[in-house]
Every structure is written in structure tokens, then in C-alpha cells.
């Protein structure tokens, strides 16, 4: 399960790096929805001046209806996500109010799945976004899906938001990816199959320092683990093995 997901999110992130416009971003989000085989994906951003941008797979009809009725007022997902930055499973929200129940019923008639995970994202200077994965299924299946895939969904959400911010600012690239020579050396050793201890010895540094280099490189590459960081560095041409 995990490897299936990895196999989807990694190429998605690589494609995201090529995206130049919000239209292209929207296309990528729809493609991600299809490859994840979920009902819907929603990305919605509000920047510090209140400007909004959304890329989502909900039907136009539902989006229009949602805006007309100003459902954000009562949508428990929106209401709960303003003040948190940890992901929220829709199962944990209170859907019991009368207005909320009717909203939910209407949403489901419009093809919205009964399960969802919404990931709040905080960007620089008060920017805020929400990335939602929406699916149909029973509670156990969904809990299992979230548990298995949370790390990858966090990463996808992070990259979508970074890209949206980058397009909004009109930058070519947030910061051209650059590994320090030591970070590159460290990943190269690992790519060659050396253990951490051996790599540290060959680079004449402590294993502790080596771990810091790995961690820095991993963060820069937006990778979820060391193996992933090595793979990205190789693919991106940052290290040559």
C-alpha cells in the first residue's frame, strides 16, 4: 500500500516542479485525483491580503451552489481548520446540527464522498491553505487509508502550496535547489551503498554530523526519508553516482 502511494506522489512532485501556471496546477491536481483513485481533491488557498485561489475536482454545479449559499459559514471542515494546523479527519467533526446535516446530504448528492481528510497548511506571512482528500468508503477502510498514506499526503499538500505561492509571486523557482558539497558527498556515499558509519568514516566526520547533513539534504529535497532523498538527488542530477 505504502509503496503504491509513494509511486504516485513522487512522480507527482517531480511533475509539479515543472508547473508554471495555475491552470497547469489545476490539471495536475485532477491527474493526482485520478491516480490516487479517490473521489475528490481540493486545494484552497487564502493569502495574507484575503485573495483566494482554488484548484479542485468538485463539480462546477456544487462549487457554484456552495458559494451561492456561503456554505463555508457552516461547513465543519472549514470551521475547524481555521485554528489548527494538524490534519483533521472528517469523522472527528461534528456533523450533527440540522443545517450541517442537510448540507452534508446535498454534498453527497453532488458526488462528494462520505470520508475526508483535510490538511491545513500554513505558509509565510499569514498565508493559509487547505488540502482535502475526499473518498467513499466505510470507517475502517478510511482509517487504514489515512494511517498508511498520511506522510505522502502531507508532502503532496506541501508541494502544491509551495507551487501555488511561487506562481502567485511570479518567481521562477522558490530557491534553486542547492546541496552543499558535504551534503552532496554524504548522499553520494549512501547512494553507493555505504552504511552511515562507513560513510562518516570515509568523509572523516562523526556519524552525528553525517546525520545532520542527511537531514539538511532531506529537508531541501522535500524527501520523506533518506532513501527518498538519495533518489531525488540522483534524479535531479544533484549528485552523480
Amino acid at each position: 500500500m505504502r509503496s503504491v502511494m509513494r509511486g504516485i506522489v513522487e512522480p507527482f512532485i517531480d511533475r509539479m516542479l515543472q508547473v508554471k501556471t495555475l491552470d497547469e496546477l489545476s490539471v495536475e491536481i485532477t491527474a493526482l485525483r485520478d491516480s490516487l483513485d479517490v473521489e475528490n481533491l481540493v486545494y484552497h488557498s487564502v493569502n495574507s491580503t484575503g485573495e483566494q485561489y482554488a484548484a479542485l475536482t468538485y463539480s462546477e454545479k456544487w462549487v457554484t451552489r456552495y458559494l451561492q449559499e456561503d456554505y463555508a459559514r457552516i461547513d465543519p471542515v472549514v470551521q475547524s481548520c481555521y485554528q489548527r494546523f494538524d490534519p483533521v479527519d472528517w469523522q472527528q467533526l461534528d456533523w450533527s446540527g440540522k443545517a450541517v446535516r442537510s448540507f452534508l446530504g446535498e454534498a453527497q448528492d453532488e458526488g462528494i464522498g462520505n470520508q475526508g481528510l483535510s490538511i491545513p497548511i500554513r505558509g509565510p506571512s499569514g498565508q493559509f491553505a487547505l488540502f482535502t482528500v475526499n473518498q467513499r468508503g466505510n470507517n475502517d477502510q478510511w482509517a487504514h487509508y489515512v494511517n498508511e498514506n498520511l506522510a505522502d499526503l502531507l508532502l503532496a499538500a506541501h508541494y502544491i502550496n509551495r507551487k501555488a505561492l511561487e506562481i502567485e509571486r511570479g518567481d521562477e523557482e522558490v530557491a534553486r535547489l542547492h546541496l552543499s558539497p558535504r551534503e552532496a558527498d554524504t548522499l553520494k556515499m549512501l547512494a553507493l551503498g555505504y552504511s552511515r558509519a562507513k560513510a562518516a568514516e570515509l568523509l572523516s566526520i562523526s556519524e552525528h554530523t553525517l546525520l545532520v547533513y542527511i537531514e539538511n539534504a532531506r529537508v531541501k529535497l522535500g524527501a520523506s526519508n533518506t532513501t527518498n532523498a538519495v533518489a531525488r538527488a540522483v534524479i535531479g542530477g544533484l549528485i552523480v553516482v
Binding site: 485554528q83 500554513r122 506571512s125 499569514g126 498520511l150 508532502l155 542547492h178 539538511n216 522535500g222
Partner: protein
């Protein structure tokens, strides 16, 4: 008990919140002499308290604060990014897997196991959210404490020397640390899991409130 509270939930625990902000004034203003803002009611708050952080708080039997720390995601504004960028040269740390922790605070006279308890709470919070690391800025006096607790950070950068040194460090969230920290906190691993499950509304513990 260990509480994991979002800023919006503090209002449900007025005594806990009031004593936390008062203890922060005692620690950071009175004892350490930091340049922090203390209200007329004797409470210390900063701009990050206004950005909906998550607090890990050790609550005494009387409902008062005995120790706490605060977490914010590194993708948004953080102390490290806003005030201590020089400690970590190069690409800023902005990862969905790394949260920043600040305002590590103990009530005057709190038993030493409270430090271990807070670190255990931080670990539980990180593991529960699928995080890889916590990052923090800390001064020289904390280095010894972290070492004694058996969970020292990887140092990313330091300015100053001796007692004046300020460092940024990275803590890896490893489940293997749990039993060691629980032992030092004199808590059972099960109880610790129960508290985090309850806070996140998971499992049987999630059905309870309080």
C-alpha cells in the same frame, strides 16, 4: 496529566492557561531576564501565541500548570525563521514533517521529572502527526538538560560562547525513545499513549472527554 491543547481550547481550562502564562513570565522575564512582554496581570505572551499554536502542558493535581512547551509548523512563521535565521545558514527549514517548539517552561520548583514528561509529550505529539523532527532555538543552560534527559538534539548552528551561546537544534522523533523518557518521567508508556489518544480523539480514549 499531560494535555495537548490548541490555542482555541485553552479557554476551557482557565486556571491551567492563566498559570501557564504567569509561569512563563516568572521564567523568561523574572528569572532569565529575556526581553519579553509581560501584561499588567503578570502574564507573558508573544505574537506566536496569537497564531494558534499547540501547547503541550503538564497539569498538576490542582489543575495548575507545572510545565509546558509550544509547537508551530515550520511552513508558517516561526521564531527560527523570523528571528534566528542566522543560526542555520542556507535553505530555511520549512518542512511539513518538522514543527518548531518554543517557550519550554517549568513552574518554579517543579520536580525534574516534569522536563522528561514534557519531552515525552513532545515525542508523542510528533509521532502522532507523522513528523520526522522538532526544531528549536535554545540557550546554553538547556544543553545539559537535554543531555541528561537522554534526548540531545543535533546542533544545526550556534552563536556566542559559554553561557551566552544560543543554538538551533533538531530532535528526531523515534518511537524507541518512548520507554526511556517515560521512565524518566515516572509514567507508564500506556498512560502516555492514552493521553495523546484522548487529545486526538483516537481509539477508546478518544471517546472520553475531560
Amino acid at each position: 496529566m499531560l494535555r495537548y491543547l490548541k490555542a482555541g481550547e485553552l479557554g476551557r481550562y482557565p486556571k491551567l492557561a492563566d498559570t501557564m502564562f504567569a509561569d512563563r513570565a516568572s521564567q523568561f522575564h523574572a528569572r532569565l531576564g529575556w526581553d519579553v512582554t509581560v501584561s499588567t496581570e503578570g502574564q507573558e505572551r508573544d505574537e506566536y501565541d496569537a497564531t494558534d499554536p499547540v501547547y503541550v502542558i503538564w497539569e498538576g493535581r490542582d489543575g495548575a500548570h507545572q510545565g509546558s512547551m509550544r509547537f508551530l509548523p515550520t511552513t508558517g512563521p516561526t521564531m527560527l525563521a523570523d528571528h534566528f535565521r542566522h543560526l542555520v545558514p542556507g535553505t530555511p527549514i520549512q518542512s511539513p514533517y518538522i514543527w518548531e517548539t518554543t517557550r519550554f517552561c517549568l513552574t518554579p520548583g517543579a520536580p525534574s521529572r516534569v522536563s522528561a514528561t514534557l519531552m515525552l509529550g513532545g515525542l508523542e505529539l510528533g509521532l502522532a502527526h507523522g513528523l520526522s523532527h522538532a526544531v528549536a532555538v535554545f540557550d546554553a543552560r538547556m544543553v545539559r538538560i537535554y543531555r541528561q534527559l537522554g534526548w540531545p538534539p543535533a546542533i544545526l548552528g550556534t552563536t556566542g560562547t559559554g553561557r551566552e551561546a544560543i543554538s538551533a537544534g533538531l530532535w528526531a522523533f523515534e518511537p524507541e525513545l518512548r520507554p526511556m523518557l517515560a521512565r524518566k518521567a515516572r509514567l507508564s508508556v500506556e498512560l502516555s499513549q492514552f493521553w495523546i489518544d484522548r487529545a486526538l480523539g483516537r481509539g477508546a480514549a478518544g471517546q472520553l472527554t475531560g
